[in-house]
């Protein structure tokens, strides 16, 4: 009898302690599903900034509108202005599409047409310079349409996009670091450890040698200038620097092209075919205006 009671006591105690532990941890843990969603969101954004180079800081502004969440009254106008910004980036989008297809053809063949790639990147620079002039009116209207809190948040998002862009296009040296471009490709194509090692060595040389000069401090200054101007009560895009001097679009596109030119010869025929297919899919992608 006493043993039975002791067993009951032990059982109740164990249940109580389990409940207590559960209560303590419930507020701190993330489910596997949530973690997976976070991982996919981060990887997708990195992939995007590695491949889509349409308008530098202006593109960051347009993308920030995807998740700004403006008030209901401003929403239709904000969606229209986002569409206007992407229309201004259509010329760069077309050149970028041609670049993706050129690189895809080269990857499939095992050698990329460097002269054609360089020509397209030169065109991208010229077209990117026109994005700002085209976007002035839309930016000014956007400033008027948003509340102070929304303007502040848009600036935070632009800075967040710039940080991710910098990580994937400047700080990524082509090594095997998790979250890097080579690690993503290794997953995408199931590269062997030998292929990864060879690619890392080749990229270590090719990326710094061929990427050209990039003035990060200039972009930092431009983003800060935009932040200060857009947060203030009055804003005029005509007098605000939008990073057009820093050639973000062509710099990102150059890094992308060098990466694929360098790794293509190290891939098997089947891997090249698969990668070329992925690049062609990316060429077919176009901006989707958000429904905030």
């Amino acid at each position: 009898m006493n043993l039975l009671r002791l067993n009951q006591l032990a059982l109740m105690g164990a249940l109580g302690l389990t409940a207590c532990t559960s209560m303590s941890t419930a507020t701190r843990t993330q489910t596997a599903e949530e973690q997976l969603a976070d991982d996919q969101a981060e990887a997708g954004l990195r992939d995007h900034h590695r491949h889509q180079h349409r308008g530098g800081v202006m593109q960051f502004v347009a993308m920030s509108l995807d998740t700004l969440g403006p008030n209901d009254a401003a929403r239709p106008q904000v969606e229209k202005l986002q569409r206007d910004l992407y229309v201004c980036m259509a010329p760069t989008g077309e050149i970028q599409r041609a670049l993706h297809l050129t690189v895809a053809d080269g990857v499939a063949a095992g050698a990329v047409d460097l002269a054609k790639v360089d020509g397209l990147i030169g065109q991208l620079d010229g077209a990117a310079a026109g994005v700002r002039a085209c976007s002035v009116e839309a930016l000014n209207q956007l400033h008027s349409a948003l509340s102070e809190a929304e303007r502040d948040e848009l600036v935070e998002k632009v800075e967040a996009h710039w940080e991710i862009w910098r990580q994937v296009n400047q700080e990524d040296t082509g090594d095997r670091a998790p979250g890097g471009r080579l690690a993503a490709l290794a997953r995408e194509l199931s590269l062997t450890p030998d292929q990864v090692q060879q690619a890392a060595a080749a990229l270590h040389t090719a990326l710094p040698a061929r990427s050209g000069a990039f003035d990060r401090a200039q972009v930092d200054a431009d983003v800060q200038a935009f932040a200060v101007a857009f947060r203030s009560a009055s804003f005029d895009a005509r007098t605000t620097s939008m990073g057009e001097r820093s050639r973000l679009s062509s710099q990102g596109a150059t890094r992308m092209a060098i990466f694929y030119e360098t790794v293509a010869p190290l891939l098997t025929a089947a891997q090249r075919t698969e990668l070329a297919g992925h690049l062609r899919n990316r060429a077919a992608q176009h901006p989707v205006v958000s429904t905030n």
Binding site: L9, L17, D38, A41, E42, H48, T67, N71, H286, V288
Partner: protein
């Protein structure tokens, strides 16, 4: 005697378990590290505007900025809790990348 001892033990156990449980929670709070949403999260997630400022649900907590400093709500405000449990919260994330056909992205 044995029955009285068992009753006493049972009572002491319950009191001890409750005290231990209550004491454990503040201990966790004391070592809690202040976290803030990373850049990729801010760039892909729609905030909820509450008390005039945007809040982000990250790491199972709501975070907001005051100036350049991040803060965390210790108690989840009812408005934010209702939002989190509602349908709209499911659409607060923007997915980018090559796997999202028909464009850069989709909701």
């Amino acid at each position: 005697m044995t029955r009285a001892f068992l009753k006493l033990s049972k009572g002491a156990f319950y009191v001890g378990a409750i005290v231990a449980c209550l004491a454990a929670t503040p201990a966790v709070a004391q070592v809690r590290i202040q976290i803030s949403p990373p850049s990729w999260y801010i760039a892909t997630t729609r905030p909820v505007y509450y008390e005039g400022r945007p809040s982000y649900y990250y790491g199972n907590q709501w975070h907001y900025r005051q100036g350049r400093t991040w803060h965390t709500y210790r108690e989840e405000p009812r408005y934010l809790r209702d939002h989190r449990r509602g349908q709209r919260h499911q659409h607060d994330r923007r997915q980018y990348g090559r796997d999202h056909e028909g464009g850069y992205s989709r909701w």
